[in-house]
């Protein structure tokens, strides 16, 4: 069994968009190594390239140049079905806008990745209920997304992200559409899952509350890594960061 220290590594990772003749460097030579089990926040102002990085690490878009390695495997070398397997079983995605399937109930949303993974209906339903209980929504399994609050929808989305026991949770502004208190609850839930399930959490965010639970904070600006801060340095600097974020 091979276990690498770094679960995600990016090398020279770049994504350029051409808009009306001008080139936008959404990501520019990003080198980032993320350890197994780490909770990493990617912080930066709007338009700095957080979502672009999220898409590249998650295999949702192709880089202009550079490489993303997941456990030392170059993601660009994967076939379409291997990539689907990776997305289904190994990565759980969480979005700012929750992205639940609107015609499906909470339970159906949570079990869909398990169906794709080939679980039997009974196993999927059992596990789905268990996950919904873990996120505190055991009673609401039969509700459609429109019948749930934003915070509840995000809980369902978190349960869905954990459906196939992924190694990586990728989140893009998971608290962006939530109020302060609900956002805090979601962050606590993510941290709890990170500790209990030893899952690596990578979260793009604006939310300074996220810093408290992060092992490392990666600051990006204009598509480049500005600096990376470790847990032990963070506590000293919170005041300064809040100032910079203004």
């Amino acid at each position: 069994m091979s276990v690498y220290e770094y679960i995600v590594r990016t090398k020279d990772l770049s994504k350029f968009y051409t808009l009306g003749g001008t080139e936008v460097r959404a990501l520019d030579d990003v080198a980032l190594d993320i350890r197994r089990g780490e909770y990493v926040s990617i912080m930066g102002p709007s338009g700095s390239g957080k979502s672009t990085l999220f898409n590249m690490i998650g295999g949702l878009d192709k880089p202009t140049k550079g490489t993303v390695f997941i456990d030392e495997v170059d993601m660009a070398q994967l076939t379409a079905s291997e990539l689907a397997f990776l997305r289904c079983r190994k990565i759980g995605y969480i979005f700012q806008t929750f992205n639940l399937i609107p015609v499906m109930t909470a339970l159906e949303n949570v079990t869909l990745p398990m169906v794709f993974a080939g679980l039997t209906t009974d196993d999927a339903l059992d596990k789905g209920m268990q996950l919904l209980k873990t996120v505190g929504l055991g009673e609401r399994y039969d509700h459609k997304p429109t019948e749930l609050s934003g915070g509840q929808q995000q809980r369902v989305a978190i349960a869905r992200a954990f459906a196939n026991d992924p190694a990586i949770i990728l989140a893009d502004e998971p608290t962006g559409n939530l109020d302060l208190r609900t956002g805090k609850e979601i962050i606590t839930l993510l941290k709890q899952m990170n500790e209990e399930k030893k899952v690596t959490v990578i979260s793009a965010t604006h939310d300074l509350k996220m810093i408290d639970v992060s092992d490392r904070v990666v600051w990006i600006r204009d598509g480049k890594i500005e600096r990376i801060e470790d847990r032990k340095d963070i506590d000293l600097q919170v005041g300064q960061m809040e100032y910079e974020e203004e």
Binding site: M1, S2, V3, Y4, I7, R36, N55, G58, L60, D61, K62, I70, D71, E72, V73, L78, A80, S81, E82, A84, F85, L86, R87, C88, R89, K90, Y93, F95, N99, L100, I101, P102, V103, M104, L112, P113, V115, F116, A117, G118, R160, A163, N164, A167, I168, K198
Partner: protein, 229 residues
């Protein structure tokens, strides 16, 4: 915990690691159709109208024959319904072309509205073929439902027109059983034409959705997720 990708790399070549059973696909399609009933009705309306028109036209052709026979029997005047039939087949074909264009259009719209959902499904592991399969299933079901309803309504309304001219409901029954279209000397009974019409509606609907479904499935997830509706 083992390597994230050892399962992937270790099983290279083994297909079907990611699955969407037909029963689940059907259930999802049913939910898609009935939860968005209004949207589905709009999508199906093109094929509904096309097949309703086809059924009306075919029933008129049969009705004309029976009515002509009634007139000949009662008044001794010979009638010539064949000319009418030639024109009417052309009309029916045109109506189907129009209906197909309508479906392409409404399927494109209903696919575009669901880009974000498609992107999400891909994040959950759906293969491109799952997306295509779901949309084709939906189109086929909508096509058959819409056509069946269209055939029923089209033939039904035309029946009301002919009741007076073909000896009442007895004549209608005879009309229903009689030949609607003659091709190369052999006649096709009306009921068979209607069944063909319903199948044709389903098939046209699936064909019309091939392009929209394929286009949606091919989109990179990031692009699909970015679209807002």
């Amino acid at each position: 915990m083992g390597s994230v990708l050892e399962d992937v790399a270790g099983k290279r070549g083994i297909e079907k690691q990611i699955v969407l059973p037909w029963s689940k696909a059907l259930q999802m399609t049913r939910e898609n159709i009935f939860v968005r009933l209004g949207r589905s009705a709009i999508t199906a309306s093109g094929i509904f109208l096309g097949i309703a028109f086809l059924a009306a036209v075919l029933f008129s052709a049969a009705g004309q024959r029976v009515a002509a026979a009634v007139i000949e029997r009662d008044f001794g005047q010979a009638q010539n319904p064949e000319e009418f039939q030639a024109r009417i087949i052309w009309l029916a074909a045109m109506s189907l072309v129009v209906a197909t264009v309508g479906i392409v259009n409404s399927m494109l719209m209903s696919v575009t509205e669901r880009y974000k959902e498609i992107g999400t499904m891909k994040c959950l592991g759906a293969l491109d073929t799952f997306i295509v399969r779901l949309f084709l299933l939906e189109a086929g079901l909508l096509g058959i439902l819409g056509s069946a309803l269209g055939a029923f309504v089209g033939a039904g309304i035309t029946m009301l027109f002919f009741v007076g001219r073909v000896d009442g409901w007895g004549g209608i029954l005879e009309t229903w059983a009689t030949t609607a279209v003659e091709i190369g000397g052999t006649g096709i009974p009306l009921w068979l034409c209607i069944i063909f019409g319903v199948m044709l509606g389903g098939i046209l609907s699936v064909l019309a959705s091939l392009y929209p479904a394929w286009r949606a499935a091919k989109m990179p997830p990031a692009a699909a997720l970015r679209s807002e509706f």
